[in-house]
C-alpha cells in the first residue's frame, strides 16, 4: 500500500493542479459551492496520499526515495524529480492539511463573490506550486515552485483587482519576491559552478570536499536573501503587511501557514551547505532575531486586525530563522508546524470576525464580540494563549525549544536568547491586546453592524485548528522527541543544536519563557479591559515611540525615497535624456550630416556656364601640373 502511494506520489502535486485546470476551464459555470467543494476535495485527497506515503517514516524505517518524472534541463542537472524524505513528507502534510481546512473555510468566506470559481482556481494552483517547491528533488525544481508560489500570491493578493491598493500590493509583493529570487538565482549559479549540477543528490553528500568556507558563506547569504524575500525578513518584509489586501483565507494559507515558511524550508534543506559556514548561520540567526523584535514592536501599535497578525507572522518567522540559524533545525521546523496551526486559526478567526462585521477591519470599531461569536472567540483565545507561549499549548513547546537551543549555544546566541525572550513578552502583549479589543470590553460597533456567529462551514475548520493547536505541542516534547526521531535521517550528516539536557535546565528555561509570556499577557489584559478612552491616553503616553510603531517606522516611505523614486528618475533619464537624444540623435545626426554636406556642395551649381568652364579648366591644369610633377 505504502510503496504504491510512493509510486503515485506525483499525484500529490497533480491533484490540486488538475483541480485548478478543471475549474479554470469548466469551473466558472459551476454553481457556487461546487467549485469550492471540488477544490477542497482535490487537496484533501492529496493529503491522504501524502499521509499514506508517510507511514514508513512514522514507523521510523522508511528511507528517502527520488521519483524521476522526466528530465527537464539536463545541461544543468535539473530534472522534474520528487524527493520523498521525512522533511518533505512533514511539509507536505502541513501544506495539504492546513490547506484543506482553509479551502473549506474559504467556501463559506467567499460566499457571494462573482469570481468564486476563479478564486479556487488560484488557491488550488497555489497548493500545487507549494507542493512542487516542497517535494522538489533539485534546486531548479525548487526554484520552479518558488516562483510559481510568488505568481499565485500575486494573483490572490490582487484578486479584487478593481481596487487599486490591491493591484499595487500584488505588484509590490511580486517585485520584492523577485528581488529575493535574484538572490536565489545567483546562489544557484554558485552552486552549479561549484558542483556542476543542481540536483540535491549531487550536492549534499559532496558538499564537504567541494565547497570552501568562502563560497559556502556566499551561497548561504544569498539563500538568506532569497529566504528574506519569500519569508518577509528584515530587508524585504515590506510586502507582507500590504498583502493583507487579499481575501483573508489567502492571508491564512499563503501569508501565515505555507508560502512564508518556504524560506525556513530552504535553509533547513540546505543544512549541509550552511554547516560549512558559521558566519552564514550567525547572520541568519541575527536577521531572524532583529526581524522578530522589529515586527513585534510594530504589531503592538496596529489597529487593523489583519495587520497585527501580519506583523506577528513576520515576528514568528524571525523566531524560526533564529532556530535554523542556530542549527536547531528540528526546533525551527517544529515551530513552523505549530505556527502554521495557530496562525492559520488566528487569521481564519479574524476572517470570520470581518465576515460577521461586514468587512470592518478596524479593531476600534469592535469589542465585546465574545457573546455574539462564542466559537470564534474561544478558538482565537486558545490560539492567542498558544502564541503567547502558555504551557501545554503547542506554541509553548516549540518556542521554548528554540529559546532553549539559543541559550544552550551560548555566546552571541545568548544575546539572541534575550531578544527572543523580549519578543515573547511583546508577542503575548499584542496578541492579548488584540483579543481583548475584539472580544472583551464594551461593544463599539457602528449602528449598521450586527455581528453574528459564522456559519458551520467556517467555524468547523476553526475548531479543527484549535484542536491541532492544543494537541500539536505534544509531538515534540522534551520527554518524547518524536519529531526529532522522525526528522533524524534528514539531518544526520549535520551537527544539530539541542536545548540544555536534564530536568532542572528544562524547568528553568520553561519558567523564564512562561514568565515573560505572562507578563505581556497581564499587561495587555489590564490595559485594554477598560473603556476606549483610558487605553487611548495610555497609548498617547508612549507617543513618540507609539507613533513610529503605528506607521511601521515609515519603512515604506524610506524605500520609496531611496529606491523607487530614484529608480523611476533613472529610468526616465535613461529613456528620455539618453536613449532618445543621444543614441537616436546620433543616428539621425548622421542623416542630418549628409544633408548638410549636400547643402554646401549645392552652392557650386551656380548655373553660370562660365563658372563650370573655369572649374573644368582649373581641373585640367591641376591634372597637367600633377602629371608634370610626378613625371607620369
Amino acid at each position: 500500500m505504502t510503496d504504491l502511494a510512493i509510486d503515485l506520489l506525483w499525484l500529490v502535486i497533480l491533484l490540486p493542479l488538475a483541480g485548478a485546470l478543471f475549474l479554470h476551464f469548466v469551473g466558472q459555470r459551476l454553481p457556487e459551492p461546487m467549485a469550492g467543494l471540488l477544490a477542497s476535495a482535490a487537496i484533501g485527497l492529496s493529503f491522504l496520499v501524502g499521509l499514506v506515503g508517510a507511514f514508513p517514516f512514522f514507523q521510523g524505517d522508511g528511507e528517502a526515495t527520488t521519483i524521476l518524472l522526466w528530465s527537464w534541463m539536463p545541461a544543468i542537472g535539473a530534472n522534474l524529480e520528487l524527493l520523498w524524505d521525512p522533511l518533505s513528507a512533514l511539509m507536505t502534510l502541513i501544506v495539504t492539511g492546513v490547506g484543506f481546512l482553509i479551502h473549506v473555510f474559504a467556501i463559506g468566506y467567499m460566499h457571494g463573490d462573482e469570481r468564486f470559481g476563479r478564486f479556487f482556481v488560484n488557491l488550488n494552483l497555489f497548493a500545487a506550486s507549494m507542493l512542487t517547491l516542497v517535494l522538489a528533488g533539485n534546486y531548479a525544481m525548487l526554484f520552479l515552485g518558488w516562483e510559481l508560489v510568488g505568481l499565485c500570491s500575486y494573483l490572490l493578493i490582487g484578486f479584487w483587482f478593481t481596487r487599486d491598493s490591491a493591484a499595487g500590493a500584488a505588484k509590490k509583493a511580486f517585485v520584492v519576491n523577485r528581488i529575493g529570487d535574484f538572490g536565489m538565482m545567483v546562489a544557484l549559479m554558485l552552486v552549479f559552478a561549484a558542483f556542476g549540477t543542481l540536483s540535491y543528490a549531487g550536492i549534499f553528500d559532496r558538499a564537504g570536499e567541494v565547497l570552501t568556507t568562502g563560497v559556502a558563506t556566499a551561497i548561504g547569504l544569498l539563500f538568506l536573501l532569497a529566504a528574506a524575500g519569500k519569508s518577509a525578513q528584515i530587508p524585504l518584509y515590506v510586502w507582507l503587511p500590504d498583502a493583507m489586501e487579499g481575501p483573508t483565507p489567502v492571508s491564512a494559507l499563503i501569508h501565515a501557514a505555507t508560502m512564508v515558511t518556504a524560506g525556513v524550508y530552504l535553509v533547513a534543506r540546505s543544512a549541509a551547505i550552511f554547516e560549512l559556514s558559521p558566519t552564514a548561520q550567525v547572520t541568519v540567526a541575527t536577521i531572524g532575531a532583529a526581524t522578530a523584535l522589529w515586527a513585534a514592536s510594530i504589531a503592538i501599535a496596529q489597529y487593523d486586525i489583519k495587520k497585527v497578525l501580519a506583523y506577528s507572522t513576520i515576528s514568528q518567522l524571525g523566531y524560526m530563522f533564529m532556530a535554523v540559524g542556530a542549527t536547531a533545525y528540528v526546533a525551527g521546523i517544529f515551530h513552523l508546524m505549530t505556527h502554521a496551526f495557530f496562525k492559520a486559526l488566528l487569521f481564519l478567526g479574524a476572517g470570520s470576525v470581518i465576515h460577521a462585521m461586514s468587512d470592518e477591519q478596524d479593531m476600534r470599531k469592535m469589542g465585546g464580540l465574545l457573546s455574539k461569536m462564542p466559537v470564534t472567540g474561544v478558538t482565537m483565545g486558545i490560539a492567542t494563549l498558544a502564541i503567547a507561549g502558555v504551557p501545554p499549548l503547542a506554541g509553548f513547546w516549540s518556542k521554548d525549544e528554540i529559546l532553549g537551543s539559543l541559550f544552550a549555544r551560548g555566546g552571541w546566541y545568548g544575546v539572541l536568547w534575550v531578544v527572543g525572550l523580549l519578543t515573547a513578552a511583546m508577542t503575548a502583549f499584542y496578541m492579548t491586546r488584540q483579543w481583548v479589543m475584539v472580544f472583551w470590553g464594551e461593544p463599539r460597533w457602528s449602528e449598521d453592524a450586527h455581528p453574528h456567529e459564522s456559519p458551520g462551514m467556517m467555524t468547523l475548520p476553526l475548531i479543527a485548528l484549535a484542536a491541532l493547536t492544543v494537541v500539536g505541542g505534544f509531538v515534540n516534547t522534551p520527554f518524547r522527541f518524536t519529531l526529532e526521531h522522525f526528522l533524524e535521517p534528514v539531518f544526520e550528516g549535520v551537527s544539530m543544536q539541542h536545548p540544555p539536557e536534564g530536568w532542572g535546565m528544562f524547568a528553568l528555561m520553561a519558567g523564564i519563557s512562561v514568565f515573560a509570556g505572562l507578563v505581556g499577557l497581564a499587561a495587555a489584559g489590564l490595559a485594554y479591559r477598560r473603556p476606549m478612552e483610558d487605553w487611548a491616553e495610555f497609548e498617547q503616553g508612549l507617543q513618540p515611540v507609539w507613533g513610529w510603531w503605528e506607521q511601521a517606522y515609515r519603512v515604506d516611505d524610506f524605500y520609496n525615497v531611496t529606491v523607487v523614486q530614484p529608480g523611476k528618475k533613472a529610468a526616465e533619464a535613461a529613456a528620455f535624456s539618453v536613449d532618445l537624444p543621444v543614441i537616436d540623435g546620433a543616428v539621425n545626426g548622421v542623416g542630418r550630416l549628409a544633408r548638410g554636406i549636400g547643402e554646401r556642395v549645392r552652392v557650386l551649381q551656380t548655373g553660370q556656364v562660365r563658372n563650370y568652364a573655369a572649374l573644368l579648366f582649373a581641373g585640367a591644369i591641376a591634372l597637367v601640373v600633377w602629371l608634370a610633377v610626378t613625371g607620369a
Binding site: Q608, R610, N611, A614, F617, A618, I621
Partner: protein, 173 residues
Amino acid sequence: MVEAVLFVLMAVAALTGAVTVVLARNPIYSAIGLLGTLFSVAVIYVVHLAHLVAAVQVIVYAGAVLTLFLFVIMLIGVDKSERRIETLPSQRIGVGAIAILLIAGVVAITVFGNFEWVPAAASVIDLDATNGTVAAVAEPMFTDWVLAFEATALLLTIGAAGAVALAHYRRRN
C-alpha cells in the same frame, strides 16, 4: 630659312587673329579674326607637308563652319553688343590669375624646355612629298581607324538631325 620666316609670319598672324576673336566688341570682327587664324594655321600645315589637312582645314573649317557662324550672327543681329558690366566679378580675377600662371608656364617651357615630351624632337626627319597626300592619309584611316571613322559618320548624322529638330520653328498659333 624660308620655313623660319614663314613660321614667324604665320605665328604672328594666328595670334593676332586669336586675340581679335577674344577681344573684338562685335562678333563679326571676332569671326574675321578666327578666319585669319584658320588661314595661318593652314599655311603651317602646308609647311608640314600636310596638304590634305590644310585643304580640308580651309574648305571645312573656314568655309563651312565659319560661314555657319556668320549666318547665325546675322540671324541674331550683329548689334547685340555685350553690356560692359561683368556679372561674375570673381571670374575676372580668377581668369587673370590663371592667365598669368599659364603664360609663365608656356614661356618657361619654350625657353628652358628640352621637350623631353617629344622624344624624337632633335632629329627632324624629312617627310617625302607623298606623305601629306590623300592616299597616305586615307590608307590608315580605312584600315586601323575604320571603327572611329564609322563612329564619326554616325555622329555627324545625329548632329544634323539634332540641329534640324532643335531649330525647327513650329508655328504656334
